[in-house]
Amino acid sequence: MNGNVIVERERGLLEVERRIADLRSANLNQPVDFSAEIAALEQKYESLQRELFGSLTPWEKVHMARHPSRPTSLDFIGQFDRFDELHGDREFRDDPAIVAGFALLRGRALMAIGQQRGRDTKENLRRNFGMVTPEGYRKVQRLAHIASRLGLPILTFIDTKGADPGISSEEHAQSEAIATCLYEFTRARVPIVAAVIGEGGSGGALALGIADFIVMLEHAVYSVASPEGCAAILWGDAAKAEEAAARLKLTSADLLRFGIIDEIIAEPLGGAHRDPQAVIATVLGAMSGAVERLARSSPEELREARYRKYRRVGAWQTERREDIETRVR
């Protein structure tokens, strides 16, 4: 990805990393002792890392969420005990921007569904940069429906800048495809646990996002529109994306405060890709724990609680005579 501010910052770190590695090999091969130099460089490395990544602005988090090395849905799904991918919408095609299928996690059978961006240019082209078409959303509906019938909990992984905005997607009813996803998830008779792992953009992300419990990686973002989209819509200028990112309140801390997500999963300094195995294990542990808690409820209780949860979301005032009561829930 061009112009990723996090990738640019990592270049400075890489230089120090290389020097440490050089000195280490020199230490082994030469009689001179470089231990002091190595220790000094390591200290420099640590403080540089803190300086570069210790506190990220919303815009920097957007870039972290889009980092090319950030773990994707398949990296999470790859850590399940078993996974059997299922394909196709039974009408037209299989959308590679959605990976989904039966999975086994800590002894429980479930349905895993994720948005999948590519990890390199070639894969990005095949997977349409993780932008899902109506066919992908129809695959999601189909599998959510199967899960609901068989009593398998649904785990979703959210990582898309938005639904595909192409001609064919409009011809194939993108709106209806997303709306019907929301409808299926609303009615599902099984626990639904979602993880926002990268970028959650707009209705295209929410299509996998109606859930009983939602975890979010610390540096993931989730917003009503991508910052570029928001800036274009409001100010006719996508270049003002950084300003939009600051205003949209799209960070995990904001969304936890708003009650829109339930738990933040901390990332190592520098981002999830610095220690993906640990991050993935923590996320799967949190999701698995949530599934077990939710599985104690009956299907009807789950659906009722889900309705009440979304019923509450919003911020409005009620006007009654001169008495205006502000409710932010």
Partner: protein, 284 residues
Amino acid sequence: MSMIPDWLRSRRSKNSDGRDAALWTKCPVCGEVLYRRDLAANLDVCTKCGYHFRMNAYDRINTLIDGDFTEIGAEILPGDPLGWVDKKTYPVKLAGDREKSGISEGVVCGIGAIDGFEIALGVMDFHFRGGTMGTVVGERVTLLLEEARRRKLPCIIFTASGGARMEEGMFALMQMAKTTGAVARLKEEGLFFVTVLTDPTTGGVSASFAFEADVILAEPKAMIGFAGRRVIEQTIRQKLPDQFQTAEFLLEHGQIDMVVDRHDLKRTLVRLLEYARGAIGASP
């Protein structure tokens, strides 16, 4: 809930225009200069080329509902959950919209009768913040759907929306989830849900309750889609054909049931309500 008598509704809708002094208006499609009173008498449809002007919510309600209309959720007004500021603060923008449109938010909801059929009716209005869905639109639509369920009434919603409202961020996006939940509960009770898509219906509204109805109608030439035209053109880097994303295009692609001229809309809705009444009680 507040009762709005006929005389107040007609007064409100006249005020809502904000252009009472202007006797004439120009059709944006054919350029014909139209006498406002003729235009209103023709249901805001150009007398020359048939262009359907974007209607004010109360004018629309007046064309459909016999007698009184009991409003639902009128007391629900927007908050400012993000403390949004750009060139203006969000509350200042909202005050401007209120003044310009004469309504308090992007949708008017209530219970009334259409040719003797009691229905729950929601009408969105593009003149308020582009009909965008924030908390208040989501909340009022949800209250309407819940009231319809409680009273076992069919529900009809007219949509007109530029999508989710940016200034309310994720609170706006979540209204898609909220309204969908209410639609599901209405439909599970065997109640009939119809949407009428008017110009334009896009984004978060088209991708939620607008396309969750049993029967979906649209007005001629209405622009309907998920992504806006500009976004698609930027993505594919070419101009789109004129017909793309029109009601007629959607009909051809199997996405909606009918394109209905505004003059035939009331009659069509009543016919649909008659079928639905026939089904209720007859099936298990």
